[in-house]
Amino acid sequence: MTMSKLTRSVLYWLLLSPLVVVILFPFGVMFVTAVRPRDELFVYPPTWGFSDFRWENFSEMWVKTNFGGALMNSLYVSISATAIALLLSIPAAYAMSRYRFAGKGAYRIFLLMTQMMSPIVLVLGLFRLMMSLGLVNDLNSLVITYAAFNMAFTIWMLQSYFNSIPRDLEEAAWMDGASHLTSLVRIFLPLAVPAMVVTAIFTFINSWNEFVLALTMMRSSDDFTLPVQIYAQVAGRYQVEWHHVMAGTVLATVPVAIVFSWLQRYLIRGMALGAVK
């Protein structure tokens, strides 16, 4: 209360510092390992220090581990899943935000329940479903499942943003002589673009990071997405090329982390508006 802002800041940073260290520790591990010469991986006693920055680890890794292929797979799956999820969510969120209709409450609860159902509980059923559709080893199986599992979140986020776009703007457009379609295209959608971009990016990140389904559905290494591809270099191998693995994780996570950091306040806002309320 009577503490000055400076004292308070110092105190708070001291209190947060253990957590900050633990959070940043894995990033340190990633970088330090990724640029280390191979023969300094397993030294005894272990040490943070190393003799030389080996940036070529990254290019080596790119070639040896088919990183580019996995990257393309991840991009394809994440972008397609995001596009489908958004395309289906926008009308649903609009209906939830703007119309009264029978079963709206029930649909909201249904969405909540689908959000609670994690892929792992359904993974066996999903695998059998994809088997029967002939989509195992097909990236499109991931596209539709990711779209489905993200939809509750996207509808929720979009609805909470749509609610913050005043209804009377559309009413004013109707009074001005606009049809429903015209008011949607010329008034509502332009105002909803930021919300749609933010929601799309979060959906993209979710799909980008998914592991269980990708691990299950993709049986051939040509079809691996990044998380599975990196996991595959660690799991069940006698000799793990840790410097390559870490180089891979750096490339796969850092761009996403930067985008996420930039956008996290929107997520907080969306949550405060929609999820919790």
Binding site: P166, D168, L169, E171, A172, A173, W174, M175, D176, G177, A178, S179, T182, I187, P190, L191
Partner: protein, 356 residues
């Protein structure tokens, strides 16, 4: 420009009735104000005229045409919204020209109309700004301008001044009235502020709980409120009301108050003696009485406003307010005697609340 006719209009949300059957004739060129407490259904009625709410039963006509099933966009009605509803991604000019552009009017024509409206509303300098950069009063003007450019048959206003501060509200009130005197477009205006209603309306419609309580010119409502609700709603401070029993003797008719005091009232048809009534008088219609006449009350609080003095007392244990335009030096605890001119007295049936 056109008349608006509302015939037996009802509105239900699910099974909950909101309007119980409204009949109202709004004449061509008239400025009608719908006034009432929140939840009385006035905004719902306005939105039904606009086409933003469906009509559960009854008919709404513009001119001679039933418009129940005409969508809002085809009704040729302009509306000013409570929160202005300016399109945030368009400039003032684009906001005002939106309806004309939708109708694919010629460019020069659009330009001329927008500049005309901007001139009337003093918006000339702001045409290229975005609504975000405007003050509350300026936004309000843009909302009006958007309605103005259209030459619509009817103007609807949904509490347009409620987001402005008190001073600006008075200014805009006058501007809207002046605008109507100039354009003479049939207008329906919703507000919960009885002063706005009194100052702006040709006729006022007082609504309460989904029904119309009274329709009349401002002075009709003020002078002869049809019932206790209107009596209480119109006028500020509110009319003083005291329960009593009607009686009569050689000196004429009177209302006997619970504490025994007798207030003389204008003569009424005989046979009403013994009836439970509510005696009403406006604070501004009380006068000081000469010694030994009128009723004695004790001053509790004195509030000078400059223009007048408001005195709060109790009459027959009921709070009572009196307003004097002359300056008096009243002190709390002092006893004063009040007198009520016979032609300013209102009597209501205590059971039904209707005017006697």
């Amino acid at each position: 420009m056109s008349s608006v006719t509302i015939r037996g209009v009802k509105k239900k949300y699910g099974s909950m009735p909101v309007l119980h059957g409204i009949d109202l004739d709004i004449r061509d060129q008239e400025f009608v104000v719908l006034v009432g407490p929140s939840g009385c259904g006035k905004s719902t009625l306005l939105r039904m005229i606009a086409g933003l709410e469906t009509v559960s039963s009854g008919d709404i006509l513009i001119g001679d045409r039933v418009i129940n099933d005409v969508p809002a966009k085809s009704r040729d009605i302009a509306m000013v919204f409570q929160n202005y509803a300016l399109y945030p991604h368009m400039t003032v000019y684009e906001n005002m020209s939106f309806s004309l552009r939708l109708r694919r009017e010629a460019k020069e024509m659009i330009d001329r109309k927008v500049r005309e409206a901007a001139d009337i509303l003093n918006l000339g300098k702001f045409l290229e700004r975005s609504p975000r950069q405007l003050s509350g009063g300026q936004r309000q003007r843009v909302a009006m301008g958007r309605a103005l450019v259209r030459d619509a048959q009817v103007f609807l206003f949904d509490e347009p001044l409620s987001n402005l501060d008190a001073k600006l509200r008075v200014v805009m009130r006058t501007e809207i009235k002046a605008l109507h005197q100039r354009l003479k477009t049939t207008s329906v205006y919703v507000t919960h502020d009885q002063i706005e209603a009194m100052t702006m309306a040709d006729r006022i419609v007082v609504m309460n709980a989904g029904r119309i309580e009274q329709i009349g010119t401002p002075l009709q409502l003020y002078d002869t409120p049809a019932n206790l609700f209107v009596a209480d709603f119109i006028g500020s401070p509110s009319m003083n009301v005291i329960r009593g029993v009607l009686g009569g003797d050689g000196d004429g008719a009177f209302v006997a108050l619970p504490d025994g005091a007798r207030l003389p009232v204008p003569g009424l048809a005989s046979g009403r003696t013994g009836q439970q009534v509510v005696f009403g008088v406006r604070p501004e219609h009380t006068a000081l009485a000469a010694d030994h006449t009128g009723v004695a009350v004790e001053v509790e609080v004195v509030e000078p406003t400059g223009a007048n003095i408001q005195v709060y007392t109790k009459l027959a244990a009921t709070p009572f307010c009196a307003i004097f335009t002359e300056r008096h030096d009243f002190q709390p605890g002092q006893t004063i005697r009040l007198h009520f001119p016979q032609d300013k007295i209102h009597l209501f049936d205590a059971e039904t609340g209707q005017r006697l």
